[in-house]
Assembly symmetry: none
Homo-oligomer: 412 residues x 2
């Protein structure tokens, strides 16, 4: 089964928005064995959408469209669909009920624009949008399928995962399976070197290294007509990869480090508290992104000023005076302090120079100390995370979470 993704919106054509929808959809389709052959973006013009859709339906089995489904005047996708399918718009009562309830829950007055979301092309199947007002749509003509979804990624992703993937999985004869190993604390080139001979490692499968500021993901793709064969191959590859890089792999596929760590803390019945200076709340924010984190996350303090380090965390003023706010000694006292005032099992801290200003020859921008304290004692390690403020924050937060993971697993 072949597919084209058709993303609609002037904001994509003028570069205001990066097309993350296309890659999300492509990934989902690949996972169920549907090969994406083309990705096309056109603007918010009825005629261009129509032309593109007609052409796509001639060439491909499935066309997945996103964008141009909202309540405002520049959202013309629905009209274009109606033209291509010679369909009228009919009011769909289930969509109307959903929109009404949603607006009510959000304390928004129902408007004619919102009501318009319940207009659905005749013959289309509604793919419910649990996260917004514009429903997804599925249409079919001469064995060619068209899926239409709103362009808001958060809404589109739920429709894709909950309604599109289940409907199309099993329609393809080739199994394509993928697994991504998420690593941190090791560079792409070192990781690649550790993997050794790739032909021996992969035996025909594909491996991609996907670096990011917080770590390198390794994605393995195995293709085989027989799904069971593909799965056995992937298993063998996984054990070879793990034998070469186990300690750096914190998770699989979409696992976030804060989720993995949350599970470890829950299993051990332990509590964590954080004292952040240069990461400015990012660690606490990541930890609390995880549902259920209140069970193991006791509190966090963002102590930007020296007064707050002293006042809340009881860092000794003499330590800051002597070694500086960005130092091994201060990092350790911060970690010990947050552990003590919170009665948590583990205290972790960050103090560094996020930049772009504030650096010196001695303590350059990017220098970060991460402190750690538990029942057995305390320590601190330092890193150099470059000169970009947001990158320094991201990389320091990742390193702090990873330090806790390694301590819990007793990896040195």
């Amino acid at each position: 089964m072949t597919a084209q993704i058709l993303t609609i919106g002037d904001e994509l054509l003028n570069g205001q928005i990066i097309n993350t929808n296309a890659s999300f959809i492509a990934e989902q389709l690949i996972a169920i064995g549907i090969a994406v052959k083309r990705i096309l973006t056109v603007g918010d013009y009825e005629s261009e959408i129509e032309t593109a859709l007609n052409e796509s339906m001639r060439e491909f089995d499935l066309t997945v469209i996103t964008g141009g489904l909202g309540p405002t005047h520049d959202d013309v996708t629905r009209t274009a669909i109606c033209n291509v399918f010679s369909a009228k718009l009919l009011k769909d009562e289930s969509v109307l009920r959903h929109v009404t309830t949603l607006m009510k829950n959000r304390n928004i007055t129902m408007s004619p624009e919102a009501e318009g979301q319940a207009l659905v092309p005749e013959g289309a199947t509604v793919l419910p949008n649990e996260r917004g007002t514009a429903p997804g749509l599925l249409l079919e003509k001469n064995g060619k399928y068209v899926v239409v979804m709103p362009g808001v990624p958060y809404e589109m992703e739920a429709i894709m995962v909950n309604h599109v993937v289940p409907r199309f999985s099993g329609k393809s004869e080739i199994a394509i399976i993928q697994k991504t190993f998420r690593t941190t604390g090791i560079s792409e080139s070192t990781l690649a070197r550790n993997m050794g001979n790739l032909d021996e490692l992969l035996e025909g499968a594909r491996l991609a290294f996907l670096p990011s500021p917080t770590g390198v993901r390794m994605r393995v793709t195995v293709t085989d007509p027989d799904k069971a064969v593909a799965e056995r191959k992937l298993q063998a590859i996984e054990s070879r990869i793990r034998s070469k890089a186990e300690e750096y792999i914190y998770g699989i596929d979409s696992d976030e480090l804060e989720e993995v760590l949350g599970k470890m803390l829950t299993d051990r019945g332990m509590k964590l508290a954080v004292a952040e200076s240069c990461t400015g709340g990012l660690i606490a924010n990541r930890i609390t992104n995880v549902s259920g984190s209140s069970a193991y996350f006791e509190r966090g303090v963002v102590c930007y000023s020296n007064e707050s380090k002293i006042g809340i965390l009881h860092v000794n003023p003499a330590t800051i005076e002597k070694s500086g706010a960005v130092s091994k000694e201060t990092a350790i006292e911060m970690a010990e302090g947050i552990r003590k005032i919170s009665n948590a099992d583990i205290g972790v801290s960050t103090t560094g120079i996020a930049g772009p200003t504030g650096g010196s020859a001695d303590k350059p921008v990017g220098l970060v100390w991460i402190g750690y304290a538990d029942a057995h004692g305390s320590m601190a390690v330092n890193f150099h995370f470059g000169d970009d403020r947001l990158r320094v924050k991201e990389r320091a937060a990742q390193a702090a979470l990873e330090l806790v993971r390694r301590k819990l697993l007793k990896i040195d």
Copy 2:
């Protein structure tokens, strides 16, 4: 002048890589008045690239291609170009010298693959690649231009900025100028209603509503042969838009609310401190993303547990006992508490049920109280932010920052 961007590579079609090149190129072209009409991605297949390029040259004045120029077997763009232009590959001595020097500087032995980078289609102008081996190319046929660049963003960006933009700026007879108004606290449909008659508002310009969880952006695009005329038009539209929605507009183009707020606090010489429960550090994280925030951000506390609300912020245990941790009273005491312990001018707090669990009929998931305290007194407001944990956090953080902005501007 119209353009199509043609991005080439299987890694784009299978979702492994997000197409950031397309948005970068589009932004650069728009800025010199070239309208991007389509963005197309195809795989690493000679025939598909050929077909796409032929079609693009029929329809558009300029085709900008990236990808498939590297030294490996799957890079077939150059061959496709030769086919379309009926051109042979000739060795270019300047490229060969550049590649040789580059490899030497990087301590890499010269390989036949690297040498192949010096093969350039007959008649093509070389656009030097200062950052890598594969040169950019410029070709022309019957007044239609084709630019070819490598797919590595870092290399492509330099070629685009240093060689493509200078060659094409001034070639367009049309000025395209854009301005984006960033709003928060108002829904897309209400904002659209406030704008009233769009023909009167815009007088031929285009307006797009771009919703996100934290607000709606309105982008105005004005096109005119005369740049000065376009600018005057945009100014008139801006004043009409502001007369209808001024209080909701916190910024322009890429302004973030935390930046705008930071500037306001700096101008007033005021300090802010935050006490976060349900936002879990997100507010502090956003504030500290801004360079120089240490001047006005005193501290933040992430008080997830009741003990931390009582211990650090001195919230009265009886208040939590009587009204609950998620309540107007607790929100106010948190804001007052953080203001007091930090000596900041303004204290702001959040307490709510981020979900997905922990809700009740009385206090459903998504309920958030935001507290505020300054020298004149304290108050709290509540919101319902839906049932998705991350969205609740994002929207609550935005609402808290916006509350401070409105208080500083004395908007009710």
